[in-house]
Amino acid sequence: MRRGATRGVRRPGLPLDSAGRTADRGPGAVHRPSVREAALSAELAISTAGLRRDFGALRAVDALDLAVPAGSVFGFLGPNGSGKTTTIRLLLGLLEPTAGVATVLGHDVRRDGARVRERCGALLEHPGLYERLSAADNLEFVGRAWRLPATERLRRMERLLEPLGLWERRHEIVGTWSRGMKQKLAVARALLTAPDLVFLDEPTAGLDPVAAAALRDDLASLARREGVTVFLTTHNLAEAEKLCDLVGVIRRGRLLSVAPPRDIRTSVGASRLVVTGRGLDAALDPVRAQPLVAAASLADGRLTVELDDGADGSGIVALLVGQGVAIDEVRRGSADLEEAFLALMAETADEARPGDPGGGEADAGIARPAEPARPSDGEPMARSDEAFGARPGPARDGEAGGAPVTVRGSRP
């Protein structure tokens, strides 16, 4: 995580302190004036409090509380129609919020939309390139619009296009380019004015895997080099995991969780223990009989143990050793982000409200019932000799990041 980024999981809807950290007051916490105060804080690149946008009877964004630290790469995850694009439009001052407050780079988006747009770059739903013009003309227009001097325009153009491999082709008509090249150019355009904050709305959508991976690499290095705060919406979970310091999950306009990707992953698979070795068959029943074990199963020579929340896995390892199991490997369960995301979606599936945005298409596409965890996705915890050697118990994934885990469920 880069400058200013805040670690830790935030339960949506809870008040923030002035630095954007969670002031968790428990499950019953409600909006207080401090939320508004925090939202107006200039230390955060983005802060919103109770942000809402209705389109008639449709609630596209619902009571959104966000705190995006300056300098971070923030991923906004959600299925199609979950309110990601509407949120960007609200944050850019292109749409008026129905309720709530949003501050971007210290400016209230209702009052200072123009100032917000002046300090932000954006790659929106579509690349938005003038396809009849050359790449250089497209960037020239943006440079002129932001009143960059001619020499600075050229310098920035070269600085951005060169690493993307587009500098030599800048005089070509954009309409003749591949989609991947256009996306790269659109990213360069968003960064041309050296903005403090850049919005990227599904930047790799529609690209083939190779082009998407290349763009992702370019994005990561450009964002790092430019030191810009990035607000990235995506439904590509690998992308979020690779690029983002902090991830917010949104569904039907409601924020479900905000946390570093690693913490979101561990929040789903943290209480799972996966053991491989010989002699596991005989140990299955004794393991199931343990009070802290919720479930245990054996498949393909691999024992998967679901532990109750907060249970330590070291007792199970000791039990297995006592049962004569020759342990090859013990993994503390850690789902990948996709699994965590699906779990979050599944948790809120029952709360579906008729007429909610994204309720149809989105759910059909993404929020299918969570698949069983893939043990191989877990982080290696310890080899058998280490497992019951110096360390009394496995380290938790979440602890490694120094952040509390668990953000599930809808905002109170």
């Binding site: 292109l94 749409l95 579509h126 938005g128 932001w146």
Partner: protein, 244 residues
């Protein structure tokens, strides 16, 4: 002013590439200039400078050219998915709107003036018979003033239509209908009038003080331009443009 010029710069670049490439666009323009600057004046001969009616095509041309360009102004951006990016820029509303209006109007007006100038050169070459033919001053002033005001009227009306049109085609159809209505309804209505009324009307027009009438018409056009521009500015709401 800088923002306005930036939008004009972009619009001009787009105009130059409207036929696919600058070369093709210039070839198309050259063809039109050949028709309106050479062929028609050659046909009209001395009537081009003697009769005000001969200049009607040069007043008509800006309408057609401007309507073609201006229909694309917002509807085209919407269709090509560039509108949202434009609206997300730091450019202010009035710069975006006026930049598009001014570029379209100057395009039509400029073409009319250039083709009228080439036309004058043509008749001097083909029909001068040793004398220098010039437009009468009142005709020249009329061409310059009404060409500009007419182009502006078309540009503001076109932008107003294009702001809400879903596609360029839809905007162009609406504008074509408006032009046809504006020009042909009075002609048809005139034909439907009884002969005596028509004659009285012609006598009335012939008896008008032309400079005064032209001035009043110019003031009327300026007022119409202002009203349409005001309406377009009032209609220019980023949120509405996105949601439309």
């Amino acid at each position: 002013m800088s923002d306005l010029l930036t939008v004009c710069w972009k619009e001009v670049r787009e105009l130059l590439h409207q036929s696919g490439s600058v070369g093709r666009t210039l070839r198309n323009l050259a063809f039109m200039l050949a028709v309106f600057g050479v062929f028609l004046p050659w046909e009209f001969g001395r009537a081009l400078v003697d009769s005000p009616a001969a200049l009607l095509p040069w007043v008509w041309v800006p309408f057609m050219l401007v309507s073609g360009v201006v229909a694309d102004s917002f509807a085209g951006e919407r269709e090509r998915h560039t509108l949202e990016t434009l609206l997300a820029s730091r450019l202010p509303d009035d710069a975006i709107l006026l930049g598009k209006v001014i570029t379209a109007a100057l395009y039509g007006w400029g073409f009319a003036l250039v083709s009228a100038a080439i036309g004058l050169a043509t008749v001097n070459v083909t029909h001068a018979e040793g004398t220098l033919l010039l437009y009468p001053p009142e005709l020249l002033v009329g061409l310059v003033v009404f060409g500009l005001l007419g182009s502006l009227l078309m540009a503001t009306a076109g932008v107003l239509v294009s702001l809400r049109a879903a596609t360029t085609r839809q905007a162009a159809q609406t504008l074509s209908l408006a032009i046809v209505g504006l020009l042909f309804v009075p002609i048809v209505a005139l034909q439907l009038l009884p002969g005596t009324v028509r004659l009285a009307l012609v006598r009335f027009v012939a008896g008008l003080d032309m400079p005064l009438t032209a001035s009043l018409a110019a003031i009327g056009l300026i007022a119409a331009d202002m009203v349409l521009l005001g309406l377009a500015l009032a209609r220019f709401r980023r949120a509405s443009l996105l949601l439309d």
